[in-house]
């Protein structure tokens, strides 16, 4: 009770001054070297794991309050995925922390070189808490501040509580709040800032980081398209499509499929299959289904409603469209052939609405994708090898998945990140460790092997020898060294 009041009090006066004291304290801890030790990193990762193991019901409950999120989604996508990241980090940490040897060339002989990973220092993470940034930042040995999203208030306050109970508060802190608190934090000098969210706020974050030359990791979104070719196992494809779209936060996820592009010929078949599978998954009254999250708040509900009420679009609804304002629920909705300049096609939907665009030739879909801003993910369902190749070669997105959606989130060996409008930097697995580390080049030379040709006074002779040395020609170097016997 006491600590809750304290936290509330802290938040009431969390202005630039408070933020600055905060950072100072964390810098002190970082300077002490505490977070750099392997022992500390392991202990924090283990504490995080303990927290997830012991408090999963609380987490599920908070997500239910924030989003009406089905228990399975919370347990699996939020908790289990994070646990996998922690396990993998615990297993690999020693290896990740080991300097990487680099092979030096004859030009710097004798020398040895290695690349040593070191933490940046004090890191700010503005993100939903369950993203593995937390794991990466700790594994890399940083001190950190988490600013969870205020749009999910129950999760945010639970996180603050749990970090207080399980983690090392001298190095890891949570700041709750909205614009004011985020601005106060962004005014400070950080050694790295990580932000997950939309591209509008990302610009503000990067501009704030620019003042202190702070590197940033931005995980944004975009309109992730799904291209449906014909000649596929349509049932399986539709089920995978539905899972990626409505099966995770009901479309409110950065890698959610945003819209479909298919051929005019194939569209009716696709539509039929989608409708069938949607009913198999969510029943005849999806508004009542316990297996679908609700819309996070009334602002977003209003935003999505506006997209549906747009004159250009309201006549294009071919399935769903039901809404319950009180319960903040919108049923899985399919729209066919909305105009390309409609509101729903000009911004990231981030909700349970799925427009289907049709083209004459399936290859035309790639032009449509490339005419927009680069999305975080692009998906393709096809058995056509040539089409796959063309997709990979011409479509630029953070990541591509063929014949599935969203699963690459669970793959630690692939970097996960955006490009241009969908973000910068990547994480997952070792990439998380790397993105929160500075890779320091360390070159060690001996005192022998000094070539006088390096030094003034400069002469034409030295120029000749220099050319040979820099080119790394072994024979040339031997000749040169033999020619110059005096140091």
């Amino acid at each position: 009770m006491g600590s809750e009041e304290e936290t509330k009090k802290k938040n009431e006066v969390f202005d630039a001054e408070a933020a600055s004291l905060f950072v100072k304290e964390l810098r002190g801890t970082f300077a002490s070297g505490k977070t750099k030790s392997y022992g500390w990193r392991v202990s924090q990762l283990k504490s995080l794991m303990k927290m997830l193991n012991e408090r999963e019901p609380d987490i599920v409950d908070a997500l239910r309050q924030d989003l009406d999120k089905p228990e399975l989604e919370s347990s699996i996508y939020e908790v289990a995925l994070l646990k996998t990241s922690i396990k993998s980090a615990l297993k690999e940490l020693k290896h990740w922390m080991t300097p990487e040897k680099a092979k030096t060339s004859i030009t710097t002989f004798p020398s040895s070189a290695e690349i040593v990973p070191e933490p940046f220092g004090v890191v700010l993470i503005i993100s939903p808490w369950n993203y593995p940034f937390f794991v990466g930042a700790i594994a890399a040995g940083n001190a950190l501040v988490l600013k969870p999203s205020e749009v999910a208030p129950a999760s945010s306050s639970l996180l603050a509580k749990l970090v207080g109970e399980y983690m090392d508060l001298s190095s890891i802190r949570v700041v709750e709040g909205a614009v004011a608190e985020t601005s106060a934090l962004l005014d400070q000098k950080w050694d790295k800032i990580c932000y997950t969210g939309n591209s509008r706020v990302a610009r503000i974050v990067m501009a704030a980081a620019a003042k202190h030359l702070t590197p940033v990791l931005l995980e944004l979104g975009g309109k992730s398209p799904v291209v449906f070719d014909s000649g596929i196992n349509l049932k399986v494809a539709c089920r995978r499509m539905i899972m990626g779209k409505w099966g995770c936060n009901n479309g409110q996820a950065c890698i959610s499929p945003d819209h479909i592009i298919t051929t005019k010929d194939y569209a009716p078949k696709l539509l039929e299959s989608l409708k069938n599978e949607l009913e198999n998954f969510y029943g005849k009254n999806p508004l009542e289904s316990k297996d679908l999250s609700r819309i996070v708040n009334s602002n977003h509900f209003a935003r999505l409603s506006k997209l549906l009420d747009d004159d250009k679009v309201s006549g294009k609804i071919v399935h769903g469209g039901e809404r319950d304002k009180n319960k903040l629920r919108i049923a899985p909705t399919l729209l066919l052939d909305v105009p390309r300049d409609s509101l729903i096609m000009s911004e990231e939907i981030f909700g349970p609405l799925l427009p289907i665009l049709t083209v004459d030739k399936i290859e035309d879909s790639f032009d449509i994708i490339n005419s927009g801003t680069k999305p975080l993910a692009a998906y393709l369902f096809t058995n056509n090898k040539k089409l796959k190749q063309q997709f990979v070669e011409t479509v630029s997105a953070g990541g591509l998945v063929i014949n599935d959606t969203a699963v690459h989130l669970a793959v630690h060996s692939l970097p996960f990140g955006g490009v241009q409008e969908s973000g910068m930097g990547a994480y997952h697995g070792k990439f998380s460790f790397d993105v929160f580390s500075h890779k320091k080049a360390v070159l060690s030379r001996g005192f022998i092997g000094d070539v006088p040709v390096r030094y003034p006074p400069y002469t034409k002779g030295k120029l000749r020898l220099l050319k040979v040395l820099i080119s790394g020609s072994l024979l040339g170097i031997i000749r040169a060294l033999l020619g110059w016997s005096k140091a």
């Binding site: 060339s105 990979v392 953070g398 599935d404 690459h408 500075h438 080049a441 030379r445 006074p457």
Partner: protein, 480 residues
């Protein structure tokens, strides 16, 4: 403004045509770059001599030679760099394949600095070309002859639809920064670096910033006189023998134990004389200060009376010839500007400590430098420096040589920069690493799909744990 927009439009169009993605195009451009350097050596020598008074040996060593080496290295590695990297996926997703493909960002802007006007323009250019981008190059206007040389010569050798040069001052820079680029690579001061990043933020353009800082050289006690001699040569080499101290990775100041200071100063004086003769002003082997602005800036650093008192060697300033001789200071005040700002000139402060171990704290209480140099044979001390300090790079027992290393990343941290390049890091810094995962329709996992129930929950928990054994038991009905 219209001209810049037109150039940019052409660069975008060229990129969209896909020509820069082909390995043949990239290799041709790299070969053409090597040819450019080979054919124009004398012109480059002349331009650098006019802009900075650089001797051809310095120019070859720090500019032409380095770029040729880098271009050749990129040519030999390009196929390897461009090859998709296969990645193993968990059994859970079988059958599936994963790989990472490097793709060019698109249209990139490279802004280079005046102290190594050829090197700092062409080294990033190699990376940008190797990665398949189109490029706008903006050389520094302060190195006038080199900027002209680049503008005139590059179109004669490289594909002018894909690689363009724009010259001009601050106003041109501002116009360029207003445009939307797919990547910006900047070399210069932290102050301008911050401006570049702010401009990039408007378009969410990723940046690589190669900045500077005060690079210290730690001098531990060395027992062998030969080692000491070599050390002193390398320090002079790392300070005065490269653009006369106007270099981002130059030795900015020395940290040494009090008892060794006098010996060190004598050795430095002797070596300076050996390199530059009795009157360095007459030596052809030493560069000039780039312009009056920087000359005055350096003069001001020495004007502080407490700093002037600390001069133990040199101090000659010749405004007409923009020449400042190698100058050594002993223990100037730590709060004087010469010890708080990057010197970027031929003035070398020696800071004495009671114990060389104190150097670690001294460095840590200041912004992270681009490089730390340490001369020591003490393995324990080495380890302490590696783990106890933070810098872009760390070099033991030499200076400046990291330039020659294609395998080490070159870049800063904190105030000294963001990102890195050289060798394959140049290729990476201009590429987007695109992850690709391919699945088959075969082998469906039913428990993936709603409606949810306890069985599916159990299944997915085990699946995400990659606990295949228990998963199998569950499927066979053998697990409770």
């Amino acid at each position: 403004m219209g001209e810049i927009e037109d150039k940019l439009a052409e660069l975008r169009q060229t990129f969209r045509s896909g020509i820069t993605k082909s390995v043949a195009w990239r290799k041709n451009q790299l070969r053409a770059l090597i040819e450019l350097l080979q054919d124009n050596e004398d012109k480059i020598f002349k331009a650098l001599h006019q802009d900075l008074g650089k001797h051809p040996v310095e120019t070859y060593r720090d500019e032409i030679g380095l770029i040729k080496k880098s271009a050749k290295y990129a040519l030999s590695c390009l196929d390897k760099w461009m090859a998709p990297k296969k990645r193993r996926l968990p059994l859970l997703f079988f059958p599936a394949s994963g790989e990472v493909v490097s793709e060019p960002f698109g249209v990139v802007l490279i802004c280079s600095a005046w102290n190594f006007p050829i090197n700092l323009a062409l080294e990033p250019l190699i990376g940008a070309i190797a990665a398949g981008n189109t490029v706008m190059l903006k050389p520094s206007e302060l190195a006038v002859e080199c900027a002209s040389f680049l503008a005139e010569t590059i179109p004669l050798y490289l594909d002018c639809k894909a690689i363009k040069v724009t010259n001009g001052g601050v106003d041109v820079c501002e116009q360029l920064l207003q445009q939307k680029w797919n990547k910006i690579f900047f070399t210069g001061s932290p102050r301008v670096g911050s401006i570049v990043m702010s401009a990039a933020a408007k378009h969410l353009t990723p940046v690589t910033l190669e900045l500077g800082g005060k690079c210290p050289a730690i001098l531990d006690t060395l027992s062998s006189p030969l080692d000491i001699k070599v050390t002193v040569k390398r320090i002079i080499g790392g300070k005065f023998a490269s653009c006369n101290g106007q270099v981002c990775i130059g030795v900015d100041y020395i940290l040494v134990e009090k008892k060794f200071a006098a010996t060190l100063i004598e050795l430095l004086k002797t070596t300076i004389k050996k390199f530059y003769g009795e009157n360095p002003k007459d030596s052809k082997s030493i560069s000039r200060i780039i312009n009056e602005y920087h000359f005055e800036r350096l003069r001001k650093l020495l004007e502080d009376p407490l700093v002037a008192d600390a001069i133990v060697h040199g101090g000659l300033l010749d405004k007409e010839n923009l020449f400042i001789e190698p100058t050594i200071l002993l223990d100037p005040p730590l709060d004087a500007e010469i010890m708080t700002e990057e010197i970027f000139g031929p003035i070398l402060p020696i800071i004495t400590l009671n114990n060389i171990q104190e150097s670690i704290e001294f460095i840590n209480s200041r912004p992270k430098p681009l490089v730390i140099y340490a001369f020591t044979k003490d393995e324990t001390f080495k380890k302490q420096i590696v783990s106890g300090t933070s810098s872009g790079s760390l070099i033991f027992n030499d200076t400046l040589v990291q330039q020659l290393c294609d395998v080490l990343p070159f870049g800063g941290v904190g105030q000294s920069g963001i990102g890195r390049y050289h060798g394959h890091y140049s290729f990476e810094t201009f590429s987007h690493e695109k992850a690709i995962m391919q699945r088959s329709f075969f082998l469906e996992l039913e428990p993936r799909y709603p409606p949810w129930n306890d069985f599916k929950m159990k299944f997915l928990r085990l699946a995400y744990d990659f606990d295949y054994f228990n998963l199998l038991l569950l499927l066979l009905g053998l697990k409770r």
